[in-house]
Symmetry: C2
Subunit: 395 residues, 2 copies
């Protein structure tokens, strides 16, 4: 079965599309990546998303939902083109959507999460059935709705002989600790805190919006972190909370950086570089601290880093400096580090159509396992086989 996974992360870089071939049973999964494309958002597209998140109302969100559906469909068709596979030979799309808001559950209350990117539009433009809205079922079942990748990590990347930490650094940073195959312990997974979001926002502010990320870690490497500020940042309450926990740009996003910039009013290039170096060190330290505190006690033989952050040598250097266990590049997983999240949503779509529950309650805090996502039919010819089975059911 060929499946496309679509991911548009909190970084707002663009849409990632991974086309995989998967052949799975309840116990084993064979898969391979056939194509991976990353379609960058234009400035206008990024501004439209930012507007909807920060101050757009119902009208803006309604329009963005449709537009994202068009952009996601375009990315899916690009992945087909890159793999030289016609869309009619793709069985399914798994679309994460763009998170506009995410409220983890408060004590005594429930959480809520909102991903947009019209599934019907993706299905209409590609003709391919779509599974979408993966997080909301876990949230409805008392969970954080995140992280969802751990179940996929366990299926695809568990090692027979060692415990692995898979550290993903996107807009936010999240990890999955996988016990060796056959171990009885449940996996552990949580958001460690900020990923690239703070660094990106600071570079954007430093360059008046001309650059949106610290390419090759140049800004951070040209200066050093300020120890006092780093210490203050490391006292953030999120870092003290024990997992499972999840976070987002509400906590570690532009407003966080804008407050810092207001307080410190960096003027010279050197002052900006120092701020960016400190935010890079904060990101590395919050990751390393989480690993040392919550994961090393369970036994951990290696850390494998994926996501855009793996391309930032300053961040990777600081991470290696702070950790005693080996820190490996994501390519040991056999896929480009950037492709991992998109692959995960292809596998989650596969789980949906197989009726396999795919949340890990030890990671999300949900009451129990659940089948995640909603299914939107593709073109008419594809809709019918499903229908026969459904019609046969009675209440």
């Amino acid at each position: 079965m060929r499946i496309i996974g679509l991911m548009s992360g909190t970084s707002l870089d663009g849409v990632d599309a991974a086309l995989i071939e998967i052949d799975g049973t309840a116990d084993a999964t064979e898969w391979r990546l056939e194509a991976f494309v990353s379609v960058a958002y234009t400035d206008e597209q990024r501004a439209a998303i930012q507007h909807a998140i920060e101050d757009g109302g119902a009208a803006a969100i309604c329009r963005l939902n449709s537009e994202l559906g068009e952009w996601f469909a375009g990315a899916a068709l690009s992945a087909c083109a890159a793999a030289a596979i016609a869309p009619e030979h793709v069985a399914l799309i798994g679309s994460h959507g763009q998170t506009l808001w995410h409220d983890p559950p408060a004590p005594g209350g429930r959480g809520s999460t909102l991903q947009v990117g019209c599934a019907a539009t993706i299905a209409e433009r590609t003709g391919i059935p779509v599974v979408s809205d993966f997080r909301s079922r876990d949230v409805a079942a008392g969970g954080e709705g995140a992280p969802l990748v751990p179940w996929v990590d366990q299926r695809l990347f568990t090692q027979p002989d060692r415990a692995r930490v898979l550290q993903n650094i996107g807009g936010m940073a999240n990890l999955t600790w996988l016990p060796p195959a056959g171990a009885t312990q449940p996996l552990l997974a949580f958001d460690t805190g900020p990923g690239n979001a703070l660094i990106d926002a600071a570079v954007e502010a430093a360059t008046d919006g001309r650059f949106c990320y610290d390419r090759d870690g140049e800004w951070a490497l040209s200066s050093g972190p300020e120890p006092a500020l780093l210490e203050t940042l490391m006292s953030h309450p999120y870092l003290q909370r024990s997992p499972p926990k999840s976070t987002g740009r509400e906590l570690f996003g532009r407003p966080f950086v804008h407050r810092l910039v207001e307080e410190r009013a960096p003027g010279t290039r050197e002052e900006w570089a120092s701020l960016i170096a400190t935010l890079t060190a904060f990101t590395a330290a919050s990751i390393a601290d989480a690993i040392e505190r919550w994961v090393v006690p369970l036994g951990a033989d290696e850390v494998v880093v994926t996501g855009g952050g793996a391309r930032n040598p300053a961040l990777m250097g600081m991470l290696r400096q702070r950790l005693t266990i080996p820190v490996l590049d994501g390519d040991v997983l056999g896929i480009e580090p950037e492709a991992k999240e998109a692959v995960a949503f292809a596998v989650l779509a596969w789980a949906h159509v197989c009726g396999l529950p795919a949340n890990a309650p030890s990671a999300t805090g949900a009451d129990d396992v659940r089948v995640l996502g909603s299914f939107t039919p593709g073109d008419a010819a594809r809709a019918l086989p499903f229908a026969d089975a459904r019609r046969g059911r009675s209440g």
Copy 2:
């Protein structure tokens, strides 16, 4: 198959839930209403929805989506209780959701529509699979995404010997013209313009929010419409556009009434009554005008009125005065007039699981017919049968 239809309309009155039993094939549909409940929104609930529509941002909409899911689930369980049927004996829920925004397609562009009310939450609380988000596929296929009830109207209410107009008066007013059974003409359906929304907003303004609709048409019957204002209102460009067309509170909602109130500054009870009578006359005249202009030329033997507006004797009286063909009460359809829309979404959910396309392109303007909606699994035991069929497919 027992199915619950859930409707929360533009009136923001509350959630309607209809539990039906349906036994259908591609050619014939037998069905009966087992229970209908209408759960009124509290003032707080209505205010939360209004806030999300008028000035809420991503955070407010995210939370409302979850909350509506909880309220919708509550209404579905109330319908089960009213019918004395356990939720595990209900096969499916069709949930319209709450429309937060609806932009019809602009020339050269596409429309967009946003219904919220977390399907995963409904499925989680009830254990029943949910079909939701019916409008967006029609919009993606070039349609207005509305009206969707006509396909259901045709299936359930076509007469062998006469052409029928089904006129629904909710927040907005919409009609379906059904040719006699076996006729080759396609049905015609469109939003005629305002339903109760303008009258409700004016009563609310007249009573400082103590009343939210004109009970028994008392306000309107205590005065008479102002001919000059009525004539101005009737020149509204929406009424001149030829069908298919759809509208919403963006055009005929509170801001419309607030502008009128600002211009005319009614002070006395009599001045308010005259304004309400004029808005009632505008609603009746816009409906009658649409019927005379677009429907009577096709042949029309009777008008059947459903929706909350059917309970307003002032509105019904004005409608009867303006039309030469018989105007019948909705109970000739064999169900309470208020239940019709909720029943329709139960039938649309049934169409989804049967793989039946359920948009009428002659009504929505879509390029072609489409299977509408997205499917969210119920509890684990129910998710599996579908999965077997899906797993069997290959791309």
